[in-house]
């Protein structure tokens, strides 16, 4: 196996610091995200989980006044290197945000948006893509008769699955979830969780969640953050049943939320 | 692959160019008025009324128009204030902020705001004929009042909308009536915004010409009673600039400079207020 193959799907974070103006939002993060596993980032609100996740695809740079230092190696390449083309990073990272954001176009065009952006012109291929990824997101049966109606007409749970399919259609290596079920009803949440569990064989998945129970259900690996720092990280079972740090203990036992 | 970046670059250049063009347009407006107006501006222009032969290039000033414009602007702003504060409070405090009723009132006001001022002027003049009111300062003040009421209410409304519901409820919970809440809490809280609204309306009142054209008339004297006719700055400018004589035209430019300075002063004052207001809020 070549070096590049070996690195595919890997993320190493080294001495990552993020400042919003004067505020030191992320403090010296060091971590390796395990490949083809589902990693959950947990911690009380305001601890920097979402900020951290937004570093993965450099969406953090859409904020004003952000300063970033340190290394964020994706497949062995520092994504904050000025020479890196930002769109190629984002193409590697599928994002599922807190609430679904269907693009203002049809269901069909939502899925083909990514491929078209990246230069795909072949109509037949795109039709196949649409069917394939809608099936992957278990949405095909529900929408196959109205592919050309506006995506905004779908229910919010369907929209989130559409967003998942849309993200998968650009063939990412990673899937990022920023509390992806927080706006959904319990049944839709379950759908998404189920999908994540199925997908982790092919993708490296990182999910920010505020729900400890969700982390318990789906995570293989857990990162606990507090006030911009990584306090503790490790395999889910170990970390949850036998936390080493007092803060982690408090959080896991529910004394801090 | 690089095409998408080239396209973005081209459009970015166009965007910056468009923004610059807008600024340049503003620059040439202010610049040309200053360049043409400053040489003709003198103390005499500001302190005297037109003397004999003023419109042929002889001595005198535009005090009549300055006074008339201020009378109209002050009078109409005062009357409009008297109507606007109650309406703005009513749709924000007494009625639910975003109820159908309040939104309908807002829609009507927005539409009124869009009605051309010449329509106010023309219809106002017809109404004056019916009720027997002569062309006068009073008639001008009344028409301009109606013209600026929607401006003023909506400007106040935008500020009052931002008053948190909790603040109003807190006051009501202490046993205050809605009237007390409105006058003592909401008005106090939004005072800088109310003042800004007043300044904006004042600017609109002093600058509008089409509405006063046939309702206020024109005179070379400073009006002594509200039943006198009155000159206004915009109409004085219009009269002077229509003259074929160069010296008279120069006086039009000087008058335009005066009006521009008044408007700029109002604009800067309201901006400073808004700034202070937002700073205090943080």
């Amino acid at each position: 196996m070549s070096q590049i193959e070996n690195n595919k799907g890997s993320i190493q974070v080294q001495n990552l610091n993020v400042y919003y103006g004067e505020r030191h939002a992320l403090k010296n993060l060091n971590i390796e995200i395990p490949k083809h596993k589902l990693t959950a980032i947990i911690g009380p609100s305001g601890c920097g989980k979402t900020t951290f996740l937004k570093c993965f695809n450099r969406l953090i740079e859409t904020n004003e006044n952000v300063n970033i230092t340190g290394q964020f190696l994706v497949d062995g390449q520092n994504i904050f290197d000025p020479k890196v083309e930002i769109t190629s990073i984002r193409k590697k990272m599928g994002l599922l945000s807190q609430r679904p954001y269907p693009l203002p176009m049809s269901i069909y065009d939502n899925i083909t948006y990514g491929p078209r952006i990246h230069g795909e012109r072949n109509k037949t291929k795109m039709a196949e893509t649409v069917e394939y990824y809608l099936k992957q997101a278990s949405l095909w049966e529900e929408v196959k008769d109205r592919l050309h109606s506006p995506a905004s007409a779908l229910s919010i749970g369907q929209q989130q699955r559409l967003c998942l399919a849309r993200g998968l259609a650009v063939a990412p290596e990673f899937i990022l979830g920023d509390e992806p079920t927080s706006a959904l009803d319990p049944i839709s949440s379950k759908h998404i969780e189920q999908k994540f569990i199925e997908l982790k064989n092919q993708y490296t998945i990182v999910v920010v969640t505020h729900s400890l129970r969700q982390a318990r259900r789906i995570a293989d690996y857990i990162v606990f953050m507090y006030l911009g720092e990584i306090i503790e990280h490790g395999p889910a079972k170990e970390l949850l049943s036998n936390p080493q740090h007092q803060l982690t203990k408090d959080y896991v036992t529910g004394e801090m939320s | 692959m690089q095409g998408k970046f080239i396209e973005e670059k081209i459009f970015k250049v166009l965007m910056v160019f468009s923004t610059l063009l807008i600024i340049i347009a503003l620059g040439t407006i202010l610049g040309s008025i200053v360049v043409k107006g400053l040489p003709a501006l003198s103390w005499e222009m500001l302190s005297q009324t037109p003397k004999g032969g003023f419109y042929l290039g002889k001595s005198g000033g535009i005090l009549n128009a300055i006074a008339g414009s201020f009378y109209i602007a002050i009078g109409s702003t005062f009357f409009a204030l008297f109507v606007s504060i109650p309406v703005a409070l009513y749709i924000n405090i007494y009625r639910k902020k975003f109820s159908k009723y309040s939104n309908f009132v807002r829609l009507c006001l927005d539409v009124l705001w869009g009605v051309p001022s010449i329509v106010y002027g023309a219809l106002g003049f017809s109404l004056m004929l019916i009720i027997g009111l002569k062309t006068s300062l009073l008639a001008g003040i009344l028409i301009v009042t109606i013209l600026i009421i929607p401006v003023m209410i909506r400007a106040m409304d935008e500020v009052m909308k931002t008053v948190p519901k909790g603040l109003v409820e807190a006051s009501l919970a202490l046993g205050a009536t809605k009237a007390e809440t409105a006058l003592k809490v909401v008005v106090k809280q939004t005072l800088p915004g109310i003042v800004t609204a007043i300044l904006i309306s004042f600017g609109r009142a002093i600058g509008d010409a089409a509405s006063v054209m046939y309702t206020t008339g024109f005179t070379d004297n400073v009006p002594e009673s509200i039943m006198n006719q009155a000159a206004t700055l915009p109409l004085a400018i219009l009269n002077l600039v229509s003259s074929p004589i160069k010296e008279v035209q120069a006086k039009a430019y000087a008058s335009a400079l005066v009006l521009t300075i008044i408007i700029l002063a109002l604009s800067i004052a309201s901006r400073m207020l808004t700034k202070k207001y937002t700073k205090n809020k943080l």
Binding site: T87, L95 | L14, L21, I29, L107, L112, G121, V241, A256
Partner: protein, 298 residues
Amino acid sequence: MSDKTRLQFDYRLKGLMKLFTLFAVLTLFIIFIGVVFKSYPILKTNSIFHFLFSSEWFPQKEKFGLFPFIVSTLWVTAIAMVLAVPFCILASIYLSEYADKKIIGWITPLIDILAGIPSVIFGIWGIIVVVPFVRDYLAPFFGKVSTGYSLITGGIVLSVMIVPVMVNILLEVFATVSKGLKEASLSLGATKWQTIKNVLLRKAAPGIVSAIALSLSRAFGETLAVLMVVGNVTKVPHSMLDPGQPLPALIANNYGEMMSIDLYDSALLLASLVLFIIVLIFNIASRLILRKMERNLG
């Protein structure tokens, strides 16, 4: 103060407020009814279409064809829109998506100043700057002779006047497009410009249409600035370098002298009615669209 007087005060104040609100709303209807009422005498003599499409304007002979003025209005407005719309959209995209806070902090006050400038000042600017430009450069460029007082001069002046209206609404409209939606497109690997083109502009399309419609209605009704530079000639214009006289200028120029001729007054108010109705339609439609967009944001 006893509770009773306090409550009474509250009750009375409420009554007063209600009255004033009613007054403010009724103004709109009073204006409408007034204009209709005043233009009724002339509408009795002939159909509205006759007046809209007749070019004969001879008040002394009681012929009141509004066609020349309508054509002038359309010319001036169209020129203003063609000039203003592209620049305003581009500048607004720049300000809302690219410019950093410092630049915005500089430019928004300038646009507010532009919004506050009275129309007579725009007229003076037109006379000082635009008229010579049209006379010495633009007309010779097309091989024509012009005094500089022409439809295109009016259009140019008007285009600058509607900039603040359009830019302010566009900025509000773009602000209603959520960050999350733009991020959704970015996270698929789209560039910023692709996101603007495919997501921002598409999502904002109804708002852009309303911004244009509102500016259009403002342009229709603008009186003084246009009157000062447009030449005021009662003739159907054939090119944009011809002088013309739009509807508002017609009313402003002639309103004083109509007393002696019976139907003159009514004819000018018919012109007001036409203006009023056009402005009303554009205004209501665009306000409703904008409001719907704002609601969808929540």
